[in-house]
């Protein structure tokens, strides 16, 4: 990947063998191109609705094959930054420029304010019998021992969310109070315990605060709160965590961005569009 904008990229690829001759050792070419293009788009260097260079041009420009260019472009399309029109070209989405700051890189950490200067108070860490719902999620017998963590998150001094995590004891043992204070459970599962995560399921509903929730969130009993049940699965599909979260409805709303996955697929039957 030669080319100026690479920011120190230099040659990065000389003769024939696949890797490269320089810095970027082991960073896939399609991934490098993906990042180059993403930063151009998010940086406003390529404006919404503008056309990107053709696959062939990118291929020549960065000295990589068209297949590799396509791999990079496909990623950006599924990310919602680009759209393509057969016979016309590849274009930048209008939405692209706005989103740059949010960019949920594919996962949920953002929802859980990892990093945001939230004060976390650990209220409880103990073993309890699994409630039915939790047992169902984790696929263990109801009543079986399980580790429960209760935390209260505050932002700017005011309570924000009350989080109850349930994990199997083997996982619970490896987590200490300091961990809970400084990281989300998702972070701990992935980074500290090395469990690659897969699907996460959220069930969001509106309910009245009960006494416990109200007092912790510093609101009146019966005030509406946003309640979320979460099920976390490993990449292999094993259930690893169940979570109950109560949000103060004046301080939080649940945001989801549904990005059309890939092309349409379905309409093989050809419609007008």
């Amino acid at each position: 990947m030669g080319k100026a904008e690479n920011g120190g990229g230099r040659e990065g690829r000389g003769g024939r063998q696949s890797a490269s001759t320089f810095p970027n050792r082991s960073i896939p070419l399609y991934y490098q191109l993906e990042n180059i293009l993403r930063s151009k788009i998010e940086g406003g260097e390529v404006l919404p609705n503008h056309k990107l260079p053709t696959e062939q041009e990118l291929s020549r420009e960065y000295k990589i094959s068209r297949a590799t260019v396509r791999q990079a472009l496909a990623a950006l399309v599924s990310e919602g930054l680009l759209y393509r029109k057969q016979g016309k070209g590849t274009f930048v989405t209008e939405k692209a420029a706005q989103t740059k700051s949010v960019k949920l890189t594919g996962f949920t950490e953002d929802l859980f304010t990892e990093g945001v200067k939230a004060e976390v108070r650990v209220i409880e860490m103990r073993a309890v019998p699994a409630p039915e719902r939790v047992a169902g999620v984790l696929r263990i017998p109801t009543g079986e021992e399980i580790t429960r963590f209760k935390r209260l998150r505050s932002v700017d001094g005011a309570p924000f969310s009350y989080v109850i995590n349930y994990v199997v004891p083997e996982i619970g043992q490896k987590i200490n109070e300091k961990d809970l204070q400084h990281h989300t459970m998702l972070h701990l599962l992935e980074e500290k315990l090395g469990i690659p995560l897969g699907t996460i399921r959220h069930f969001v509903e509106s309910m009245k605060a009960d006494v416990e929730v109200a007092s912790l969130l510093a609101i009146s009993v019966f005030e509406p709160v946003l309640y979320m049940e979460t099920a976390v699965y490993s990449a292999e599909g094993r259930a690893v965590e169940a979570v109950d979260t109560y949000f103060r409805s004046d301080r939080y709303r649940y945001t989801v961005e549904l990005i059309r996955s890939q092309q349409l697929r379905k309409d093989r039957g050809k419609r007008t569009r």
Copy 2:
């Protein structure tokens, strides 16, 4: 794509040129394989945690190149049905079998109960000045004329959700009461108006029902309801619709399934895992 399970597939590809000699004309090979594998997985023919044939085997078996096999597998991985381990193989997710019925094919229609025997009462169809929030979403000046549709959805005779759609007049004109009674707005936008949709953004919060909402949903004032703001964008990234939805909290909860997109990407730095 030879192979028995194809269900009448036959040869589907004889000598060299790309298309095929038979039925499947124009259906991409990777897509055919994708469907074959998906149905085997969802049909339980390949069980969770079981290993799929290797890329090479699939390549030989279906007489397609490894690259094409990979394209099919990549789609199923990003769909959450498969996971892969370098050096080991491709495996079926535990979650795969369960999900078969739900399978949000990538979009939201399921959330809006298209098809479910919901009675829809059209309460209003008229032009109004755009409220600030809506104008912001649609990127038009506040107060500019806009079409507003109000509908009440009931299931089993009891109110379920109160939906207010806002679209620009050009779109609004093309929609009649019958449309609104029988289809979701998303359906109409895509199918009737031929607008390919892209990203959808949801903001979900908990709030107290005001008088209008309470009376329509047949609940008490101040009861908690689930309130959702929606922004719908076309594939090109233009905002096409804004929606406010109020759900009875005892009859609905918002469900999201976040599927890890593709591989990990980030951890190029190599971690243990």
